[in-house]
Amino acid sequence: MGSRQITEKSLSMLRSLPRISLGNIRDNPNCKKNPKRGRAQHGGDKHGAGNKGSGQRQNFMRLGYETGNNPFYLRVPQEHYYRGQHLRREYPPLSLHQLQNMIDKDRLDVNQPIDIASIVRSGIYNFFPDLKQFGVNLTDEGADIFVAKVNIEVQWASEQVIAAIEKNGGVITTAYYDPHSLLLLKNPKKFFESGQAIPRRMIPPPDAIEFYTSAKTRGYLADPEEISKERLKLSQKYGYSLPNIEKESNYEMLCEKKDPRQIFYGLEPGWVVNLKDECILKPKDQELLQFYNS
């Protein structure tokens, strides 16, 4: 007997019972704990605090204090493994297996370029720019079962991941976004509703410039010719034949790339998206145009 029968039976039982009204409803028995403590002969004995001592008086020693010994936490010298950890950029991981899973479940559209906005919109991946998280680190778990052909833009990727994507005829780019741009990408609707103009994407900080200008890591600031050389090199290193994407029917989509100053696909910095009237307002003032194009 399945649970459906239980619902049906309880509903048909209701037919023969008095009408449910404000006078005959109640919560489940014993579902509320009594907030008061017992005051009677034995209910009020010790109230669960035990007999005498720190149980009753809460006069515990401070944490780590060893009654005058050199405490354990001072006996061992400090080693600063985590010095500067709070300043480092973090890239929460997303595996190729998860990415394939999202594509198979139709949570990601492979006919469109994939960026962090569409990954977050799938509902599987989430990140917090205000906790120094700077976007997706695509990891190689599930690289051998990854079969999708995608144009994907992530913030960090290893060599194996780049090889796994390019082997299937896909394109991968690593791109830097500053925390404010990431906030916009995480929840574009909230930003558009605020009525502000789309800002420019900031350039990477000094310690990230090398990664994002390198063709080996498919950085978005790298020379495209260098990248095509590196694609060939990587295919030889990993021993696969590089598919010729120029003959693909969706070559246009595979080549689509954002401008280094652009945050959203199809929207330029300086534009205002009006969701209410469903239109886009573009700046005309020369000074503004110059500002947003710089």
């Binding site: 399945g2 459906r4 029968q5 239980i6 619902t7 049906e8 039976k9 309880s10 509903l11 048909s12 209701l14 037919r15 023969s16 019972l17 008095p18 009408r19 449910i20 009204s21 404000l22 409803i25 109640r26 919560d27 489940n28 579902c31 509902g123």
Partner: protein, 285 residues
């Protein structure tokens, strides 16, 4: 008197068979019962019922005192045949009572009671118990220790899904107890309250009736008729709530109201509400 007797007899009748969908063969049999043209609606929902069958209800009329069946109408089982959870109904009622309740009970502390500044007698040497003020809580006419202070709000929010399930489970139990009726529209032939009162009496709808419509303006006749009847009330769909449904014996929905309620509740039953429920999540890290 008779209506009370009839309803008592009706309640004694124990339905053994679960309410399942009436097939078209049965519909043909009911056609001869009264009306000449029955409209039978089979609906396509955005979220199809998976394991349960849709509930079928009669569409009734309001323009005559005798009930006429104008057609059959399907209701989604996720909304109108949900498990009847009395605890969820109770939580909703308690929430509705408490959300707007502010306790104005007030007592004075020893500081607020007039007088009591002087020490009544010296600390030592009188043979009497030591006291510092005649307004201490130990004294007759003194202040109250830990008494109620006015303006205490009892506001709290019930989690979103408990509120949604409160509506579905109340609608379901109303339907299961034959206390939910669907009418085509709210057009009455006259604006006299006697007509409506007689209709309610004749149809055995219990003394109090809650009428829910899709719009927030109703036809003139029904507003005029219900104006002097304190136990028959009209409400728009957006005002529908668990407390009012339980307060009234019978719930009368117009066709469009029933569809609107179904659509909104189905939407929220299947929507991604993580954003709404995030602030009620316990043990957040």
């Amino acid at each position: 008197m008779t209506s009370a007797l009839i309803s008592a007899i009706r309640r004694l009748h124990i339905a053994v068979t679960p309410q399942i969908r009436v097939y078209s063969s049965n519909v043909a049999a009911t056609t001869s019962a009264g009306s000449n043209s029955l409209s039978i609606t089979k609906k396509e929902w955005a979220f199809q019922p998976q394991y349960t069958k849709p509930r079928e209800v009669w569409i009734e009329n309001l323009d005559t005192i005798e009930e006429q069946k104008l057609g059959l109408f399907e209701l989604h089982p996720s909304v109108y045949a949900a498990p009847p959870r009395l605890d969820i109904i109770n939580q909703n009622v308690v929430w509705q009572r408490k959300i707007r309740f502010v306790s104005w009970a007030h007592t004075k502390t020893r500081a607020e009671v007039r007088g009591g500044g002087k020490k009544p007698w010296p600390q030592k040497g009188t043979g009497r118990a030591r006291h510092g003020s005649i307004r201490s809580p130990l004294w007759r006419g003194g202040g109250i220790a830990h008494g109620p202070r006015s303006g205490k709000s009892h506001f709290f929010m019930l989690p979103f899904h408990v509120r949604i399930h409160g509506l579905t489970t109340t609608l379901s139990s109303k339907l299961a107890q034959d206390d939910l009726h669907i009418v085509k529209d709210l057009e009455l032939p006259t604006d006299e309250p006697e007509f409506l009162a007689e209709l309610v009496e004749k149809r055995n709808w219990g003394p109090s009736v809650l009428i829910v419509d899709d719009t927030d303006y109703a036809p003139r006749n029904i507003t005029a008729a219900t104006d002097s009847l304190a136990h028959i009330n009209i409400m728009p769909v957006y005002g529908l709530n668990v407390y009012s449904m339980l307060k009234h014996d019978t719930l009368v929905l117009t066709l469009s109201a029933a569809e609107k309620i179904e659509e909104r509740l189905l939407h929220w039953l299947h929507a991604d509400t993580r954003a709404q429920s995030r602030e009620y999540k316990v043990n957040q890290v």
